[in-house]
């Protein structure tokens, strides 16, 4: 399994990343990707910019762990996780998760698993600059529930 983890300030190129995933093996039949964008309205306060920080070393290690877990549960030929840090603006792409597999079911499930756990486990912190001033975000309950669903479902290979 080819695993690529990158944390960077620069933008990423979804086309290039998808191409690379498709080239790891002639067995790749399905590539799924998730791209997360900064939304302009988060919980109803106008967001003018977002600052992201991470824990260098630990964050990369956590992302590699999440990818490895996904590869244990589903058939994964290659996976790429890219997360941007630093200053971002509304509509900027912030995170990319791409998974290459033989079949689409595995690719979808593994991709969704990785982004769900990235949201609740990986050491990133977001500070929003809104009209009402700056504030550090707190973990969303909905994200915690979404990630917990995968555990409730450990016996089965599919998300409930």
């Amino acid at each position: 399994m080819f695993s690529t983890i990158r944390i960077q300030t620069a933008a990423f190129d979804v086309g290039a990343e998808t191409r690379v995933l498709g080239q790891v093996s002639s067995q790749v039949g399905a590539i799924t990707s998730f791209t997360g964008l900064v939304r302009d309205i988060n919980d109803d306060a106008g967001v003018s910019s977002l600052y992201l920080e991470h824990y260098p070393g630990m964050t990369e290690r956590q992302l590699a762990e999440i990818v490895a877990e996904a590869a244990e549960r589903w058939q994964v030929l290659a996976a790429t996780v890219i997360h941007r840090v630093g200053e971002l603006r509304p509509t900027d792409p912030i995170v990319f998760v791409g998974v290459a597999s033989l079949h689409r079911g595995d690719a979808f499930q593994a991709c969704e698993y990785i982004i769900d756990y990235l949201k609740t486990r990986a050491a990133f912190w977001k500070k929003e600059q809104t009209e009402a001033g700056a504030r550090w975000l707190t973990t969303r309950d909905s994200d915690l529930k979404t990630a917990a669903n995968w555990q409730a479902d450990d016996a089965s290979p599919k998300k409930s």
Partner: protein, 83 residues
């Protein structure tokens, strides 16, 4: 010496990003917090003992009772909000 680092809101609230602390043996995360509060005041107790504050020792999540030794890296941070 133990390297102690703080992230995000915790770093801002404490006004501190990183410290080098000499710890006695045996020491734990909890005893380190007590030691920091003794030096920096009750404000640090409030911040470091919040229910949702997480700890990592050598970049792996850890409980408060985990033993720490010289050379370790101990990080305190709020819940994560990536993605």
């Amino acid at each position: 010496m133990v390297k102690v680092i703080f992230f995000a809101s915790l770093r801002e609230n404490l006004g501190t990003a990183e410290l080098q602390v000499a710890v006695p043996e045996p020491a734990s995360v909890a005893s380190l917090v007590t030691q920091l509060v003794a030096v920096y005041g009750d404000h640090w107790a409030l911040e470091l003992n919040r229910d949702n504050v997480l700890v990592a020792v050598n970049q792996a999540l850890a409980e408060r009772h985990q033993v720490i030794v010289a050379g370790d890296e101990v990080a305190f941070f709020p819940p994560v909000t990536g993605g």
